[in-house]
Amino acid sequence: MRDVAIIGVGLQKWGELWEKSFRDLFVEAALNALAETKVDKLDHMYIGCMSGGLFVGQEHIGAIMADYLGQRYLGATRVESACASGGAALRAGFIDVASGMSDIVLVGGVEKMTDVSGDGATYALATAADQEYEVYNGATFPGLYALMARAYMEKFGATRDQLSAVPVKNHENGLNNPNAQYQMKISVDDVNKSVMVADPLRILDCSPITDGAAALILCPLEMAKKLSDKPAIKIIGSAMASDTIALHDRRDFTTLDAVKMSSMAALKMAGKAVHDVNVTEVHDCFSIAEIIVSESLGFFACGKGAAAAANGETRIDGKFPINPSGGLKSKGHPVGATGVAQAIEITYQLRGEAGKRQVKNARVGMTQNMGGSGGSSVVHVMEVA
């Protein structure tokens, strides 16, 4: 297996980008990534997209994006694993380069979620849950995480204020991210008093509906210097795990086994322990998700993640900085692009380019990207080459 490096990354400012088309979003991010490199010809493209079909009525996304990027005749594959599509695309690209099948690979992620109504978006997102046995009976995505939140709060005595600490922290970080959808400060009180979505989760516990894309360029580490002046970021661990898609079939509603298994495998591959990781981007689609993920990754013991968030342990200057980018909550959550953007934030952090949100002395970083209510999870570990 060859060593694989990230040599260029590209994003745009995320939000409700009504003036940009689905394909323009992707191409813009991809061109931004290519601009950081000297690459002019790709060998393959992997594009994370959760539901082009339901959000914009477009499937066959690999070919259309390759064409619009001016890269005809190369292999281009769409990768889908619900909200973990971007992470899964990165893993596919990593495997392709590591195996020697391809040299230069573009990994992208894209979702255009605001061309449909709120109803349409709720419907499309809910397809990541069990259609026949959850959604049929009225489950929504926030509803499933609310079921987890209630179970967690009752089991461990976590408080409303502790839950709120997560979006407050992430919005604080997002203030320093020029690409974030919502650059605004919020307080614990704002979260506690915001509109109820699915009890106990309120609107400020939830990540938004977002248009956006992200892209990065991978190549064998030994080619990195020739192809880019940016510091090469080496991917040292990659793993994915699945679990039951229906929340009710899980062993325990307050841990995420797919997260646990994927992070254990990725860290083992990287030869690192979780406490060697200096900065982490996790899937905070809801406040409770970041808390449970931080425990399932091994940063905190079961039931301790909520208090840790409230005590500032996950802030940029805390013991285990989580989501310096602002996370899905502030940066936005264009589902198929999210996992790729997490790797981009870690790249900025490890290159020392994160500006005011820079975690000091970040040498090892990790991303965790989740599909559905935890039915899949992808973890990557990276370090400065």
Binding site: Y133, N137, P142, G143, A146, L147, A151, A198, D199, H248
Partner: protein, 131 residues
């Protein structure tokens, strides 16, 4: 979306609470499966779930999908039956303030949703207080 064929083949589970029990290890699956997650066994006997169970968690949904607009806000919970099967269902005929994790609830046959103005009436199970 209520495609008639899809709706029809789910009837044994939604209408009659049919589940399958692994003949090798006894694990119970609702709905049925072709292979046991625990022991990889492929032989099952069909059982009917008991009508009562314990509530494991619940929420009150204020922002529903469009087919549930008329009844929002509504309560949704996860119930575990005596056989160990777990299912997600709406909790009805009970004020939200009285819902508690751990309480016993009863499974009843109810209308779940309607597909459009003159569309298919879709039935299934809901959770109600024990009489």
């Amino acid at each position: 979306m209520m495609f008639p064929a899809r709706y029809h083949r789910e009837m044994p589970h939604r209408y009659r609470m049919e589940a399958s029990k692994c003949k090798k290890c006894g694990a119970v699956y609702f709905p049925h499966r072709l292979i046991c997650r625990e022991c990889k066994g492929r032989e099952f006997e069909t059982i009917t779930l008991s009508e009562r169970g314990k509530l494991l968690s619940y929420t009150v949904i204020h922002t529903p999908a469009s087919q549930f607009k008329d009844i929002a806000p509504y309560a949704l919970g996860i119930l575990e039956t005596k056989e160990g099967a777990k299912l997600t269902a709406q909790i009805v005929d009970l004020p939200y303030e009285e819902i508690r994790t751990g309480m016993e609830l009863q499974i009843e046959f109810r209308r779940v949703q309607t597909d459009g103005h003159e569309g298919v009436l879709a039935y299934g199970y809901k959770l109600v207080p024990v009489m």
